[in-house]
């Protein structure tokens, strides 16, 4: 028995090394699946959910809207209102204004982020401009809709939810900023 172990030790150790290398890559889908199913990934769903039918009128949640532009993107991007008070289960339609200030057509991707992270699972979007990329021509302005509701199962301890959207430029995916000595020029 010891002879078998001794003979196969080096191959076994090399196999272990390579397995751990593969494991690290495998962690990416593993994290995605586990965190999504446990509801702890802090991310909203990438696909639309149905509209809500049941409204919980016993409480109101304050939902705030924040916008960010990644890497000095030359766009204007802001919500029409700063916050709303919602009952869980109530469907609501919110508009965000987006304007492409550049002189050429640009494509952006909006990435949502919800705070507190644990509430992300309960923010169900029926329609969102973040599901697809948005292309605007030079100087074009557009109103972008989000139709969502809060799942009535939202934990009672949560009273405020912040929905933040960040616009990322997808016109040229690989373009990195030019830097000099660590400064962006």
């Amino acid at each position: 028995m010891m002879q078998v172990i001794k003979k196969n030790l080096i191959p076994a150790l090399i196999l272990l090394t390579l397995s751990m290398f593969a494991f690290a890559f495998a962690l990416i889908p593993l994290y995605n699946v586990l965190c999504k199913n446990l509801g702890i990934n802090g991310k909203t769903a990438k696909r639309a959910s149905g509209k809500s039918t049941h409204i919980d009128r016993s409480r109101q949640i304050r939902v705030e809207f924040i916008t960010n532009l990644n890497k000095q993107l030359n766009w204007n991007f802001y919500p029409h209102i700063q916050h709303v008070y919602l009952h869980p289960g109530e469907n609501i339609l919110i508009y965000f204004s987006a304007k492409n200030n550049a002189n050429h057509t640009m494509t952006v991707q909006a990435i949502p982020s919800v705070s507190p992270g644990i509430a992300a699972n309960y923010l169900k979007k029926t329609e969102c401009f973040c599901f697809t990329q948005q292309t605007l021509n030079a100087k074009q302005k557009k109103e972008l809709p989000v139709l969502f509701h809060l799942d009535p199962n939202l934990p009672k301890a949560i009273h405020t939810i912040t929905l933040a959207y960040t616009l990322f430029d997808r016109s040229q995916i690989n373009r990195a900023p030019k830097t000099k000595l660590g400064f962006i020029t």
Binding site: I5, K6, L9, I10, L13, I14, L16, T17, L18, M20, F21, A22, F23, A24, F25, L27, I28, Y31, I40, G42, N70, Q109, I111, S115, G117, I118, T166, F168, D169, R170, I173, N174, A176, P177, T179, K180, L181, G182, F183, I184
Partner: protein
């Protein structure tokens, strides 16, 4: 090979010298190479540290640009962790493991040579980034994206290759160590007869195999994000910068145990010798090392308490992190238990070893403080963390390595070092590191962030004390170099095989220095122990 040097000309002598050191497959020579490499890189990383402390001597100082400061911070961390302490501990492994188990050499001598020579290549890549167009890496040794992917200088790719080389070196070394310890022990030597130092390296080698590939994969993903249009860590493409943190710290936390476990092993060899008592609780020392190794895999999120991980994660990882203090504490109590009612003498190795026990414990306490997630919201990314890890790494791992050098240097060179110089080195180092790193805890509590080139004037006094201490410690290391040089050059009294009275272990049965090839004839463990007469 024995060459009659009178018959060789200079070129032939040079050829033999190069062949000996470039192509050596001898574990003692390779161990020496690891030590010398580590010592040289210690001064390179130390120079960067002193530049950092010089800049932080005054608020508003501008000895050099903040951009260069960020590069100093990054390279200091990378060099000290990957190119100083890890090679030093590998040097101990190479020198001592075959001697301690009665083996003629490591299991794979040629791979051993290859594993060493990867390191000077890697360190050249790392250091040369300072001289390449653009800057050296400037995003901290932890290399978080997008700072390290999107906004990083071109030299980052050199760093990534260097990390791959260092990883391969460590992995080959780890495989070599496991095979050597499991297969090449003298017949009759059971695993529970192994010196604790060998146990510590056996476990560390498994940790290395488990997590170094994860680092390799992670920096590969960084490289792909930088050049291949992937979006592993890029939110715009559907990835997540937080993924990097999870992957990195899954490696990063076991990494720090990889560093400290062999250091524990060295201390476990030194304290019994100078207490003239066997190590207290050998079995529990071994179990504690194994427990620490297992637990080290389930604590990594404590580096990410403030990133917005769910409450459940914060609770779980807070508890596992606190738990890991238990086996560590067992080891500390056992070292103290070894000294209790022992016949103590305070030669230089013992001074460093006792300081290790005290100061590492202080570092451990600040670690337990950091493990309290709500409190960590205050401590995270402040100088409190810097104080913590410098205590466990400098007052911990580095002191242990220095203690080990003093302890085994007479064995390796055959000459006793000067005890006066050793004591001077010790006291200056002790005072230096405490002046340097204790104030950092208070700076962190007072709100000073880390990785900043300039700070609010309120933090001036403690920063000045820290800088003073750092310079004292830095220059004290020159005494260490003097001690080592004198020993190598044969200045000092000759050392016998049993250098230290009551030192246990097969290495002390050999002459000082041991023959180039030792334990050539296979003897059983019983025969070897009989020869040892203890």
């Amino acid at each position: 090979m024995m060459i009659d040097s009178a018959e060789l000309n200079t070129w032939q002598r040079l050829g033999h010298f190069l062949k000996r050191w470039l192509c050596s497959t001898n574990h003692k020579e390779i161990g020496t190479l690891y030590f010398l490499f580590s010592l040289i890189m210690f001064f390179v990383g130390g120079l960067f540290a002193l530049l950092i402390r010089a800049e932080l001597m005054q608020p508003g100082a501008r000895l050099f640009s903040p951009e260069l400061f960020n590069q100093m911070v990054t390279l200091h961390g990378l060099i000290m962790l990957l190119l100083v302490i890890m090679p030093a501990l590998s040097g101990f492994a190479n020198w001592l493991i075959p001697l301690m188990i009665g083996a003629p050499d490591m299991a794979m001598p040629r791979l051993n040579n290859f594993a060493f020579w990867l390191l000077p290549m890697a360190s050249s890549l790392v250091v040369c980034t300072l001289f390449l167009p653009g800057s050296a890496p400037n995003f901290g040794w932890t290399m978080y994206p997008p700072l390290s992917t999107l906004y990083a200088p071109p030299s980052t790719d050199y760093l990534i290759v260097a990390i791959h080389l260092m990883g391969i070196s460590s992995l080959i070394g780890a495989i070599n160590i496991i095979v050597t310890i499991l297969n090449l022990r003298a017949p009759g030597m059971r695993l529970m007869d192994l010196p604790v130092f060998c146990w510590s390296w056996l476990i560390t080698a498994f940790l290395l195999i488990a997590v170094m590939p994860v680092l390799a994969a992670t920096v590969t993903m960084m490289l792909l994000d930088r050049h291949a249009g992937t979006s592993f860590f890029n939110a715009a493409g559907g990835g997540d910068p937080l993924l990097y943190q999870h992957l990195f710290w899954f490696f990063g936390h076991p990494e720090v145990y990889i560093i400290i476990l062999p250091a524990f092993g060295i201390i476990s060899q030194i304290i019994p010798t100078f207490s003239r008592k066997p190590l207290f609780g050998y079995r529990f020392m071994v179990y504690a090392i194994i427990a620490i190794a297992f637990l080290s895999f389930i604590v990594w999120v404590h580096h990410m308490f403030v990133t917005g991980v769910p409450l459940a994660a914060e609770l779980f990882f807070m508890c596992t992190t606190m738990l890991i203090a238990v086996p560590t504490g067992i080891k500390v109590f056992n070292w103290i238990g070894t000294m209790y009612r022992g016949s103590l003498s305070f030669e230089t190795p013992m001074l460093f070893a006792i300081s290790f026990v005290a100061l590492f414990t202080i570092g451990g306490f600040s670690g337990v403080m950091l493990s309290v997630a709500p409190a960590d919201y205050q401590y995270q990314d402040s100088y409190f963390v810097v104080g913590h890890f410098h205590y466990v790494l400098v007052a911990g791992a580095v002191f242990s390595a220095i203690a080990g050098i003093y302890y085994w240097l007479p064995k390796m060179t055959g000459y006793k070092y000067s005890e006066r110089l050793g004591q001077l080195h010790f006291w200056l180092s002790l005072i230096g590191i405490n002046l340097a790193f204790l104030p950092m805890h208070f700076l962190g509590l007072a709100g000073m962030p880390r990785r900043i080139a300039d700070y609010s004037t309120a933090f001036t006094d403690f920063n000045q004390i820290a800088s003073l201490g750092a310079f004292i410690f830095g220059f004290a290391q020159l005494i260490f170099v003097l001690v080592i040089l004198r020993s190598i050059l044969g200045k000092g009294p000759r050392a016998h095989g049993q250098v230290w009275e009551e030192a246990q272990g097969l290495e002390w049965t050999l002459s000082s220095p041991p023959p180039l090839h030792s334990f050539v004839e296979q003897k059983t463990y019983a025969e070897l122990m009989q020869r040892a007469k203890f």
